[in-house]
Symmetry: C2
Subunit: 228 residues, 2 copies
Amino acid sequence: MRLVVARCQVDYAGRLTAHLPMATRVLMIKADGSVLVHSDGGSYKPLNWMSPPCALREGSTEDGRVEWTVTGKTDDTLRILIEEVLHDSSHDLGVDPGLQKDGVEKHLQELLAEHPATLADGLTLVRREFPTAIGPVDLMCRDAEGLSVAVEIKRRGEIDGVEQLTRYLELLNRDPLLTGRGAVRGIFAAQAIKPQARVLAEDRGITCAVVDYDALRGMDDDAEHRLF
Amino acid sequence: MRLVVARCQVDYAGRLTAHLPMATRVLMIKADGSVLVHSDGGSYKPLNWMSPPCALREGSTEDGRVEWTVTGKTDDTLRILIEEVLHDSSHDLGVDPGLQKDGVEKHLQELLAEHPATLADGLTLVRREFPTAIGPVDLMCRDAEGLSVAVEIKRRGEIDGVEQLTRYLELLNRDPLLTGRGAVRGIFAAQAIKPQARVLAEDRGITCAVVDYDALRGMDDDAEHRLF
DNA sequence: TAGTCCATATCGCAA
DNA sequence: TTGCGATGTGGACTA
């Protein structure tokens, strides 16, 4: 890992072209050759970068200024014209042991599988990841009247999720084993549902359910076993 | 901008919980208080981070080790336990003049709005960003016969774009003002269209148009004004 | 390898 | 501010 602070001008040409005027920035050069150009603001996304695999070549322009050329796998190139180097240091970091995560969509599905009644009164689980020809339905349930209910779970409820559930319902409603007592209903469950997605869902007779993740976790006796 | 290289352990708790075991990493602390934890690989995304606005507090644990606590706007917290500092430097970067981009979807839409006939002979523009209940249609046009044509523009033509255009067409074809002379047609325009998207589009009677960005830019008399 | 879906997404624009 | 779509999306998983 090499860290450089320099007054520089950056030009990228690849899927798009982008230009950064001359200013002081941080250049991070990773062991795999990838380069990140950061300013003193924004968020974690660099102003400009080159993803690995790529190669950095240090050269100079006709008028003797330092110029880095980073070449990517395709035609991507990142040109960094350096006017003044304010800091330059290299560090051996070794291999990173990696990140452990908890609390993504899979976990939400586990919690709802344990507590399906929070989605609709009297709802009981038939099975998780119920298989269909076009992919698994997150939860297949049965309501108080014994009718089949397909549940699609998303962390954020957007229009794509409604389309997905619609495709599932279309398929499920061709199966006489499921539709014996009546058509399969759909429930679209998410921590937040966008207005457009809600309109589309309701237009298609799909019920929307906003899920309170913290409340669900509170209901789960084993919640503490998942913490680090 | 402060750059620290240190052996550290990182724990994040917010929308999810995440844990990084003790290892040597780069910590980037920006002027707005945001913190990035980078390893010597991966891509531009840090292993862990805290987005602005946030506040960093340097403290120490009961056993005297250095611990940073970064607190975000909501309940987000990032705890960095530091075992050994290998490098620590601060730099004044000033305000960045910002990034200039060229070649994104918006620009493509401008060019096609100026030259709709490249999509189909005799096509003329009615208006850009034509409003519907579920969002704006990129270009609403009229063909040589006076029939309405909805154009959806994507940089990359994938299946989502076809779904989007299908929804627009469904809605537009309920409007007697547009369908007076016949049903509204759809054109799916992109720099490259994936095979699956093409199949779906043609199955729905949507015309696919592959757009040559460079050729379009060449037709545009004012193109040079957009260059740097 | 190509398709699909998630993300602590981030970012920019507009209502 | 919130909603919404684009992103040089990236990354993981699957068939």
